[in-house]
Each structure stands twice: as structure tokens, then as C-alpha cells.
């Protein structure tokens, strides 16, 4: 589904990602764990095309997308939910959804996913969305923003969702809700790549884990072996 091959990414003069490689399979939930500043967001931004990749290759469904602009990647079926949710504050929730709906429609005109069906899929995951579709983004709580951000990305009928810190800043009880939601999304056959700084939370949602530190992948494997790996535990938890 998604494949990163030795990518190097810079933010200004700073060399952030050093030869990062990872893969996400069909309908697989992969977590990228690491401390703040380890390079998680940079990895997500590199995949989405929000940051230029200096060298290496990003491939999606077997196609090289390394030089594609962000909007074309989105139209190919990469959904994205940023760390700060990135809700358009002056738009209503319904209008927030419309953005990706309009784009999704132009991508999949005549294809299987019509707008109505996507709506149902979102309601299946986040039924509470219905209660605040008329509200402006500005007036949403942090948790509601996270919901809208994920739901909005699903409006694109994506093949993969990139979620940047979807559980950050949520109360533990809400985190549980979100973990269920993520599992439901996976159940729909959508792949997930989740950036997460809490190793415990990560092991609860991931089929497979990558640990990243100082811009390098230092571990990959299943959640159990991650928890059993002393070095990973030490780097992530400090």
C-alpha cells in the first residue's frame, strides 16, 4: 500500500529524517512511536507531500509519488488528520466535510464511493458527529476537532489514513473511544499510519510498530516484542 524507501527530509537547515524506510500493508494499522521531536510529524508530512523529500522514494500503491504535490496525493487516496486537527475555524463542520467531499467526488466520479455511503461509514465510526455538523469549527472542543479531522479525511474515501497524534491531549476515557474508532476504520479495509508518542496507547491499536528516534527507525516489529525490547522502552519513555 505505502512504502518509504530511505527518505531524507530537512526542515530549513535541520536534517530531520535520516534514511527512514517503512511500509504499511493493506488494511493494516501501523504505529510510528517516538518522543516529541523524534521525526514522527516530519515523516507524516513527507508522505503527505507537505514537506519536500530531499532524497529517497515514497511509493503509494506501487506508484512513485515522491515529487507529487500534496493535493494530488490526497486525490490518489491518502487521507490526513494533522496534529492540531487543522479544522477550518470559520467553516461549519458540514462545510469542513464538504472540502474533501468535493475533492473525493472529483476523484471518484462514477466510482464506488458516493457521498452518501461515505457519510454512513463516518456515522458508523463517529455517530456523535451528527450533533454538531451545524457548528462552526471555532466552537468545537479539542476532542470534537479531532473527530471532525478524522471524519473529514475519511470523506476522501481514502485507501490509507495518516493520523498525527490522534490521541494527544484527550482524557483517558476519550482515548478509549478513539481506539475503538480506529479499529472500526481498519475493519472497513482502510490502512492506517498513526504517529503516537505513548507506547502503551500504540500497542493497543497497532498491528505493527515502528519506533523512531532522532530521525532514524530504531525498531520494527509487533507490539509485544516492542514492549519486551528494553532499548525501545528506554528511548520512548525516557
Amino acid at each position: 500500500m505505502l512504502e518509504l524507501d530511505h527518505i531524507n527530509t530537512f526542515r530549513g537547515p535541520a536534517h530531520i529524517l535520516r534514511g527512514v524506510s517503512l511500509t504499511v500493508g493493506d488494511a493494516e494499522a501501523v504505529c510510528l512511536v517516538g518522543r516529541n521531536g523524534a521525526g514522527k510529524t516530519t515523516t507524516i508530512d513527507s508522505i503527505m507531500g507537505l514537506l519536500p523529500v530531499r532524497s529517497g522514494k515514497v511509493a503509494f500503491k506501487g506508484r512513485d509519488i515522491t515529487r507529487l504535490p500534496a493535493h494530488e496525493r490526497a486525490r490518489l487516496g491518502i487521507g490526513y488528520s494533522p496534529e492540531d486537527s487543522g479544522i477550518f475555524p470559520d467553516l461549519t463542520v458540514a462545510e469542513n466535510f464538504q472540502i474533501s467531499q468535493l475533492m473525493g467526488a472529483s476523484r471518484a466520479r462514477g466510482a464506488s464511493a458516493s457521498g452518501a455511503e461515505t457519510d454512513e461509514r463516518i456515522l458508523a465510526v463517529f455517530p456523535e458527529v451528527k450533533e454538531f455538523t451545524g457548528r462552526r469549527g471555532l466552537n468545537l472542543s479539542g476532542g470534537q476537532k479531532k473527530i471532525v479531522a478524522i471524519a473529514r479525511a475519511m470523506m476522501l474515501s481514502p485507501a490509507i489514513l495518516l493520523l498525527d497524534e490522534p490521541f494527544e491531549g484527550l482524557a483517558p476515557v476519550v482515548v478509549n473511544r478513539f481506539i475503538d474508532a480506529v479499529k472500526k476504520i481498519k475493519g472497513m479495509g482502510i490502512s492506517l499510519l498513526i504517529a503516537e508518542s505513548n507506547l502503551n496507547t500504540a500497542t493497543r491499536v497497532a498491528d505493527r510498530l515502528y519506533a523512531i528516534d532522532r530521525g532514524e527507525i530504531i525498531f520494527q516489529g509487533d507490539p509485544k516484542s516492542a514492549l519486551g525490547n528494553g532499548e525501545v522502552m528506554k528511548t520512548i519513555r525516557g
Binding site: R35, G37, N139, L140, G142, G169, P172, V174, S197, I236
Partner: protein, 249 residues
């Protein structure tokens, strides 16, 4: 004797009742933690008390005086200071100048046009001493935008602390820093606050941090106060555990 007391404080954003009739008190000398899930209204409450937002209703008493409609400037003079969740610094000024400005302001010297800021040795020494307390003395001459996230958080607190407030609000002093950096930052901040005998209100998400560093905890939920008590009382309060920690905890 309560240092700060709000009565029936309200702040609405359209349909969202961010702060909905809150009676919140802070007692002289304590380190209080304000917790609650995202959107519970913690930051809004602090924004209203510190004067960034006007309340829709209710009153705020500070040391017995009504400050509800005072300007930010007057509240700072009265002794209410705050730091910010998203670091809010003077990015093109050096760390030393960031802190020195607070000291100049406290001493009413910011209106001096014809003296050199660096010529004021007393202020400079105090600023250096403060930076040293916060472990930032090596960065004194660096512009604030060049600091790491953890250092920026510390400097943000230092800038507020340099005002020598009677009441200091710290809005998530460890958000955005790694788990490993959290404890050292909180150690530094609480040590300074306690040794300076400053009353502090800390907004925080991390339960471990909250239980470890605070004397009293106030829990907010959907704009109202859900519980108020010592760390032990809160830890065993079923209602709080249900709302905040969920059944899994």
C-alpha cells in the same frame, strides 16, 4: 483566607458553555492543579481570570478586591501573572532580555526612554540569577527563537515568574515536551515556585504529574467544577475516575 475567588463565572462561545457558573477559589500559598479533559474549560477559565477574555457573567475577587472588569495591566500590577500553553515569547529578543523586560515592567522602568537597558546592573543581575534558577544561564545571549521546546517552556514560565506575582497561572507547562523532559521541568518549576512562596495554579493533563506536584486538585468537566480536593481524595473519587480515567483505569 482565599487569595482568589470567583463566583458564578460564565463565559460562552456561541452554544459552547466553556465556563458555566464556576466558583473557583485559590488559597494563599498552595500549589493547585486544575485538571479536566480537553474542552473542559480550564484554559478559558484562566483566560477570563487573567483578563484575556471578558466574562459574560460573574465576579472575580483577588485579595478581596473586585478585578472582574480590570485591564490586564491592572491585574498584573495587583499580582496575577500567567504563562501560556503554546509558548508565547519575544522571539527576536535574547533570553536575558525576555526576562529583563518583566523585571523592568515590575519596577515601572519600561517607560524610560533615555537609559540603556543593559546599563541597569541590578536588573541584569537579577535576570541572570533567574535564568540560572531555570537552568537557562548558558542561553542568556541567545534569541528566544533559537531555544529547544523544553527550554522555551521554561523561559515562558521564567518570564511570568520574573514579575514576582502573588498568583501564578501555568497553562500546561509541560505540553509538547517529551515524557523524559517532563519531570525535570516540573521539578524546576515547583521548586522555584515553592521557594519563592508564590501561589500557583497549574493546568495539566498528565495525572502522574498532577498527583506528584500539587497540594490540591480542582477537576473541571464541561465548563463546571466536578470535584475539588487533595490528590488522595481525587484519586479515589469515583465520579472523577469515571469521567477522566474511564473504566479501563
Amino acid at each position: 483566607m482565599s487569595l482568589l475567588a470567583t463566583t458564578q463565572l460564565k463565559k460562552y462561545f456561541g452554544e459552547t458553555h466553556a465556563v458555566d457558573g464556576v466558583d473557583f477559589t485559590v488559597t494563599q500559598g498552595e500549589v493547585l492543579a486544575l485538571i479536566g479533559s480537553n474542552g473542559a474549560g480550564k484554559t478559558t477559565l484562566v483566560n477570563v481570570i487573567s483578563g484575556l477574555l471578558r466574562p459574560d457573567d460573574g465576579t472575580i475577587l483577588f485579595q478581596g478586591a473586585d478585578v472582574t472588569h480590570q485591564s490586564i495591566h491592572d491585574r498584573i500590577k495587583a499580582g496575577i501573572a500567567r504563562s501560556f500553553q503554546l509558548v508565547n515569547l519575544f522571539d527576536q529578543l535574547t533570553c536575558l532580555d525576555n526576562v529583563a523586560l518583566s523585571i523592568f515592567s515590575r519596577e515601572g522602568k519600561t517607560q524610560r526612554l533615555m537609559t540603556l537597558a543593559d546599563g541597569d546592573r541590578a536588573v541584569r543581575d537579577e535576570a541572570m540569577e533567574l535564568l540560572q534558577q531555570f537552568g537557562l544561564e548558558a542561553k542568556a545571549g541567545m534569541v528566544a527563537s533559537g531555544l529547544s521546546q523544553g527550554e522555551r517552556k521554561l523561559l515562558d514560565v521564567a518570564v511570568a515568574y520574573a514579575l514576582r506575582p502573588k498568583l501564578l497561572f501555568l497553562d500546561e507547562p509541560t505540553s509538547g515536551v517529551s515524557t523524559r523532559e517532563k519531570a525535570p521541568i516540573m521539578d524546576i518549576i515547583t521548586a522555584i515556585v515553592r521557594s519563592g512562596k508564590i501561589t500557583a495554579v497549574i493546568i495539566e493533563h498528565d495525572m502522574d504529574v498532577v498527583f506528584k506536584y500539587s497540594d490540591r486538585i480542582v477537576v473541571m468537566h464541561q465548563g463546571t467544577i466536578l470535584a475539588d480536593g487533595t490528590p488522595n481524595e481525587i484519586r479515589t473519587n469515583d465520579q472523577v475516575v469515571m469521567t477522566l480515567l474511564g473504566t479501563h483505569a
